[in-house]
C-alpha cells in the first residue's frame, strides 16, 4: 500500500451548489490521499464515521482509463457496496498504479454492516454526478491534488 505523501488529506462541503444535492471539494498531498479524502467525504454524507467500528475488512479493485474516471468509478463502487452488502467504512487505504492505457486502484477498507441503532446515519447517496466533476493538480504546493464532486441525494 502506498503511504508516502499521506501527510495531509482533507475535504470540505460546499454550500449553494446543485441545491438538492451535496457538493464537496477533496484535497490530498498525493493522488492516493486525495482518493482517501474523497472516500471519507462521501462516507460522511451517509454516516457519522465516528460511530462506525472497523470490524470488517474489504478490498476493492478498480481499473479506469483516466484519473478522473478512476475517482468516479471508485466512489460509485463504494455506493454499490453500501447497497449490495450494507457496508459502511471507517477508513480507507488507497494505492494507485499506472497500467497500460489505464489506472489501477486497490483500496483496503475497514468498516461494518449498517446498524440503525448504533450508527448516526445521514443521507442515502444515490450517485456521483459528473456535474462540475474533475480531478486536478491544485496550484501552490507542489504535488497537491484536488477534486470537486457533486453527489445526487
Amino acid at each position: 500500500m502506498a503511504t508516502k505523501g499521506r501527510r495531509h488529506s482533507d475535504y470540505r462541503f460546499l454550500s449553494n451548489i446543485a441545491l438538492a444535492d451535496i457538493a464537496f471539494v477533496a484535497r490530498g498531498d498525493s493522488l492516493q490521499s486525495l482518493f482517501e479524502s474523497a472516500a471519507r467525504a462521501l462516507t460522511e454524507v451517509m454516516v457519522d464515521r465516528r460511530t462506525v467500528v472497523g470490524r470488517v475488512t474489504r478490498r476493492i479493485d478498480v481499473r479506469s482509463p483516466t484519473v478522473d474516471r478512476l475517482l468516479y468509478d471508485f466512489l460509485t463502487e463504494l455506493i454499490v457496496v453500501k447497497d449490495v452488502d450494507s457496508l459502511l467504512f471507517k477508513d480507507f487505504k488507497v494505492s494507485i498504479a499506472p497500467g497500460r492505457g489505464e489506472r489501477r486502484l486497490a483500496c483496503e477498507m475497514r468498516g461494518e454492516e449498517i446498524d440503525r441503532d448504533r450508527h448516526a446515519l445521514r443521507n442515502d447517496v444515490k450517485a456521483v454526478t459528473m456535474h462540475m466533476f474533475g480531478v486536478k493538480k491544485a496550484g501552490g504546493k507542489a504535488g497537491r491534488w484536488e477534486a470537486t464532486v457533486v453527489l445526487d441525494i
Partner: protein
C-alpha cells in the same frame, strides 16, 4: 418589454431567453415564473436551461418550470423534447433517480377520525415502509422475477398480491412503459436493486398522510371525479423512485455516453449533459435499461402502497377496500418518453425528457385512464413536508405549449448544507408537531435538510402554472403525518 436576468417577458408568467444569449443555442429557452420567482431563481437555472438548448436535435424550446432550481446537467424543473432521428437521449436529462415520482391514494376517512390516531399510524408506517441509508425491503425475489418487475412494473405487483387489479390503470403508462430490455442492465445495477423493492430511500423522499384543505379545495366538482368528496378527507402521498437500481443504470450509461460523445462529435458544456443520438446503439441500449428502472420505480411505489394499506387496516381495523383506498393517480417526474406532440404544424413522435417535471396531458388524450379521460390527467405536485402539496389537472394548453408538461414540486432555494446550519432536526420536529404535523424521520440531519424554509413557496409555483393554463388547481393537501428517510 421587461427583462430579468437576460430573459424577456412574454406574458405575466412566461419568460424567454433568445438563442443569441449564448453561442450554440439551437432553440430559445422558456421559463415559467412570476416576476418574483424569476428574480429569486438561482443563476444555475439560467446557465443550465440554456446549456440544454444547445443539445443536438432539441425541438421548440428548452423549458424551466416555475419550481426550477440548479441541478446537475439539466436544471431541476427542466423539460426538453428531441427529434427521434437527429436528437439525443441524456441520462442527465432524466436524473439518477429514474422515474422518481408521486403517487396519491385516497381514503374515505375524515380528519376527525385520523387525527386521534396519527401517531400510531405514522409509527406503524415507519415500521412497515423501510427508510434510510442502505435499507432493504421485504420482497424476496430471484433474478428472473426481478426481470419480470423490470418488464411489467405495477402489473407484476398486481399479479403477485401486492396490489389491486384497478391499481394498474391508475398509474401513468398503465403501470409499465413498453420497451424494457433487461439484457441492457448491468449485473451491478440488478444487485443494487433486487432487495430494495418497497423501500422509500432518503433525501426528499417521503410518505405523507394529508388532508384536503377545506379553505383551498378549489374545484370540488373535479375533486369528486377523483373520489375526493369531503373537504377534510384524508389521503396519502408517496414520493420516491427506482432506488439504487435506477441510480446504477444512470451511472453505468453516464460513463458509456461520456466516452461515446467523441464518436458522434457531440460536445456539451457540462459533462453531466453527456448524451448520445437516440437512434444510436448506445441511445437504444440506455432507453431499454432506463425503462427497466422506470418500471421498477412504479413497482416500488406499488409495494409501498401495499404496506400503507396494511397500516391503515391495522390502525383503523377495516379492510383497505372498505376504506376506499384506491390510487387516485401516479406520475413520473424524472423520465424520458416517446410521445406524440404537435410540432411545426404537424403531429409527430418526439423524445420528451422531464427532469423534475410532470406530465400534464389535457382532456381527451388516449394515454389518460378511461375513468379520467374526459377530464384531463391528474397532476400531483409534492411540496415540502411543512407546507403541503397539490392535486392539479392537465390541460390542452400544456399540450400546445410545453409538450404536456408542468412543474413537479416547490423547488429548493437553499442547499442541504445551508439548511441544516439554520435549523436542527429536533427543533423542526417539535415545531411541526405544534403545527399539527407528526413527523418521524430516519435521521435528524435529514429532517433538517427538508425544512420548509429551504423551499420556494409552493403556492406561488402552483399559481404560476395555473395562471399560465398549464395545470389547473383542484385541491391543496395539508400534511398531518409524515415519514421520511
Amino acid at each position: 418589454m421587461t427583462e430579468v436576468k437576460n430573459a424577456k417577458q412574454i406574458s405575466d408568467v412566461v419568460w424567454e431567453i433568445p438563442p443569441s444569449y449564448k453561442a450554440g443555442m439551437n432553440v430559445p429557452a422558456r421559463i415559467y415564473a412570476t416576476k418574483k420567482l424569476i428574480e429569486e431563481m438561482d443563476s444555475g437555472v439560467f446557465e443550465q436551461v440554456t446549456n440544454v438548448a444547445m443539445l443536438p436535435g432539441i425541438v421548440k424550446y428548452s423549458y424551466a418550470m416555475a419550481d426550477a432550481h440548479w441541478g446537475y446537467g439539466f436544471p431541476i424543473g427542466g423539460v426538453a423534447a428531441f427529434d427521434l432521428e437527429k436528437g439525443v437521449i441524456s441520462p442527465g436529462g432524466i436524473g439518477f433517480d429514474i422515474n422518481c415520482g408521486m403517487r396519491l391514494v385516497r381514503t374515505n376517512l375524515r380528519l376527525s377520525e385520523v387525527k386521534p390516531k396519527i401517531k400510531e399510524l405514522v409509527d406503524l408506517l415507519f415500521r412497515l415502509v423501510p427508510t434510510g441509508v442502505g435499507v432493504k425491503g421485504t420482497v424476496r425475489m430471484n433474478q428472473s422475477q426481478f426481470e419480470d418487475v423490470m418488464r411489467w412494473g405495477v402489473k407484476w405487483c398486481a399479479e403477485n398480491d401486492y396490489g389491486w387489479e384497478d391499481d394498474v390503470s391508475k398509474v401513468e403508462e398503465g403501470g409499465f412503459i413498453k420497451g424494457a430490455d433487461p439484457s441492457k442492465v448491468s449485473q451491478q445495477a440488478s444487485s443494487r436493486g433486487i432487495s430494495q423493492l418497497g423501500t422509500l430511500g432518503s433525501g426528499n423522499h417521503y410518505c405523507e398522510v394529508q388532508v384536503v384543505d377545506p379553505a383551498r379545495f378549489f374545484d370540488a366538482k373535479m375533486g369528486k371525479q377523483f373520489g375526493l368528496v369531503h373537504d377534510d378527507q384524508v389521503v396519502v402521498m408517496v414520493h420516491c423512485g427506482s432506488r439504487g437500481f435506477g441510480h446504477q443504470v444512470a451511472s453505468d450509461y453516464l460513463r458509456v455516453f461520456d466516452s461515446a460523445m467523441k464518436r458522434y462529435s457531440i460536445t456539451v458544456r457540462d459533462r453531466e449533459l453527456a448524451c448520445a443520438p437516440f437512434s444510436s446503439n448506445e441511445g437504444a441500449d440506455y432507453y431499454g435499461a432506463m425503462v427497466c428502472a422506470a418500471n421498477m420505480a412504479f413497482a416500488n411505489r406499488q409495494v409501498i402502497v401495499h404496506r400503507i394499506r396494511e397500516a391503515f387496516k391495522q390502525v383503523f381495523r377495516k379492510d383497505p377496500e372498505a376504506l376506499d383506498m384506491h390510487i387516485i393517480y401516479d406520475v413520473c417526474h424524472n423520465i424520458a418518453k416517446v410521445e406524440r406532440h404537435k410540432v411545426e404544424g404537424g403531429s409527430r413522435d418526439v423524445l420528451v425528457h422531464r427532469k423534475g417535471a410532470t406530465r400534464s396531458f389535457g382532456p381527451g388524450h388516449p394515454d389518460i385512464p378511461p375513468a379520467y379521460r374526459a377530464l384531463g390527467q391528474p397532476v400531483i405536485i409534492g411540496g415540502s413536508m411543512e407546507t403541503g402539496s397539490y392535486l392539479l389537472l392537465g390541460t390542452e394548453k400544456a399540450m400546445e405549449e410545453t409538450f404536456g408538461s408542468t412543474a413537479h414540486g416547490s423547488g429548493r432555494t437553499m442547499s442541504r448544507t445551508a439548511a441544516k446550519k439554520q435549523v436542527s432536526g429536533r427543533d423542526l420536529q417539535q415545531r411541526m408537531e405544534k403545527n399539527g404535523i407528526y413527523v418521524k424521520a430516519a435521521t435528524w440531519e435529514g429532517l433538517a435538510e427538508e425544512a420548509g424554509m429551504a423551499y420556494k413557496d409552493i403556492s406561488e409555483v402552483v399559481e404560476t402554472m395555473h395562471q399560465a393554463g398549464i395545470s389547473l388547481k383542484v385541491a391543496a393537501l395539508r400534511p398531518i403525518g409524515n415519514i421520511k428517510g
